[in-house]
Symmetry: C2
Subunit: 325 residues, 2 copies
């Protein structure tokens, strides 16, 4: 729902709320947290680790959190992932709600119930799937969102267009990132469209037996380089999407002209489409991807823009493909 964070007190009894946020959000919006028990974690993907969860647990104990406590994650994807995870396992599960403060969290991370943490360089290796009680969209947080985080978030928006929505793809081609920053209704409409795309997929397939796998487009190679090179998530999956499009040409006959269109759109939104990285090392990390199934990897490919499909690629073949990228 849309609203301002001050409305939280109307949704949940104020005394029972414990907010989890990060130092960046807290520093920029301290007034919004006045009067709430708040746990502030350090900002950045490198803190999406068990040590941070351990510290959250200690603070929940200090606040005497019990099963009536409501956890609210206020922040970007790292905060909503880790707050959702802590809430899922503390006392075997507290209620949780999110106030996503970035484009990425609003269009993707906070939606769908996946939570979790990284284990070293392995992305989201530990976590659960558990839906929040609410997601509150308070657009005032976007006023302080740095430019690079706008870029970061639009990578997932372009991903949704690639796998599910040619109209959204066309629409994005006709605009620039700055249009969305300056035009509130254009932005709200786009965020809403993305929430609908993701929610519909999650409703059909909450536990990722089929359709939900499509959301991993660009994420297999993306995750394999993201933590190793400390990339923004959007940058990593942008590079991953171009690689997946190139692989789609070979295996699914995606026309090269469509790979071109995808690359052009990513660049239009200031996203990187390639980088130098150690391919052997990336393959080693990729082996631990959750989409691996025995001797093969469930890889998301495109038949055309707007139409994705999952193909099990044998690990041996995938190693060769990555070496040849």
């Amino acid at each position: 729902m849309d609203g301002t964070m001050s409305a939280i007190g109307d949704i949940v009894h104020r005394d029972k709320i414990i907010i989890i946020t990060d130092a960046d959000v807290y520093g920029l919006h301290q007034d919004k947290f006045a009067g709430y028990s708040t746990i502030v974690i350090p900002a950045g993907e490198q803190y999406k680790q068990q040590a941070t969860v351990d510290s959250i647990m200690q603070q929940l104990i200090r606040y005497e959190a019990d099963r009536k406590t409501f956890i609210i994650g206020v922040g970007g994807g790292v905060v909503t992932d880790i707050a959702g995870y802590a809430a899922a396992v503390y006392m075997r599960g507290l209620s949780v709600g999110f106030v996503p403060t970035t484009i990425l969290a609003q269009t993707d991370a906070a939606v769908g119930g996946k939570n979790g943490i990284d284990v070293g360089i392995y992305k989201n290796l530990v976590g659960t799937i558990r839906q929040p009680e609410f997601i509150l969209y308070d657009y005032s947080f976007l006023q302080t969102l740095p430019w690079e985080q706008w870029v970061n978030g639009f990578a997932e928006v372009i991903k949704h267009a690639c796998i599910k929505d040619t109209h959204l793809f066309d629409f994005l081609e006709k605009h620039q990132l700055k249009d969305f920053r300056s035009n509130k209704s254009l932005l709200a409409e786009t965020i809403e469209r993305n929430v609908v795309i993701k929610s519909e997929i999650v409703e059909q397939d909450e536990f990722e037996q089929g359709e939900r796998k499509l959301l991993n487009f660009g994420h297999t190679l993306g995750h394999a380089i993201e933590n190793e090179y400390q990339l923004l998530h959007g940058h990593a999956i942008s590079i991953g999407m171009v690689a997946a499009a190139v692989i789609s040409e070979k295996i699914k006959g995606l026309p090269a002209s469509q790979t071109e269109r995808i690359s052009r759109l990513l660049q239009q939104y200031h996203l990187p489409i390639a980088m130098e990285y150690n391919k052997q090392q990336a393959f080693e990390v990729l082996k631990m991807d959750k989409k691996r199934s025995g001797q093969g990897m469930n890889f998301v490919l495109l038949e055309e823009i707007g139409k994705a499909t999952v193909t099990n690629i044998p690990m041996i073949q995938l190693e060769q493909i990555i070496q040849a990228l």
Copy 2:
């Protein structure tokens, strides 16, 4: 189901199994683990902590565990709790099965899907509720079970009798612990009866909204002293059950003669019924019990042997009651 551990290969494809056990079980039954990828954790409740889970995660990565991997916990309650928890969160959930090797795990810990770890002295503060795919009863493990672990396990058996089954209570009064050690069919019948009692409660109320709370009889005070004084779980809840019976006299009119019978039965099975402990400190730990709900504690009391009930006792009153015990 009953069987021998060697039957696991018939239930689950051998290549996909990773066993989690502890050093005691592994040392005594090493032959049973031959040919299986096995993670051995140190034995003892003091290792039921996040650090052990962290180490399990590292070893799962080393074994390249993926979503097709089947985790099997072979051991007592600590092993089944921690293996169930690791399986619940690794890659957002792997399948898990249990081979409980103690009376306590066979009659209680492995049954019902509660898993988790302690956080410092706070028992089971972190975990999930998630049912195993199977529980395999291999009674050959009991041949090496130390005497104190027989005593430990029968505390939960007596608990089941107290809250749900006067016939079981009468039956236990007529026997001695040594009868169960020497008479396999008497033991198997008793274990089965206990599994039925617990399973029926869990089936009615998996997520502990009502009926399942009754299983916490003796556990509120028990948990508050267990880790602080490094007691066996059975010893701690035995003391907790006597305390709960005394409180039941005051609040629920349980006849003093029934408290007497409970104390006598616990002693007959070599369980302690009292100890010296710091009551103020115990109350501080107890405040973090999962059964606390705001200003009150959902405390399990007896109306009579075989009939338990939950009463919300205000924390202020509970503090006085404990001081007066």
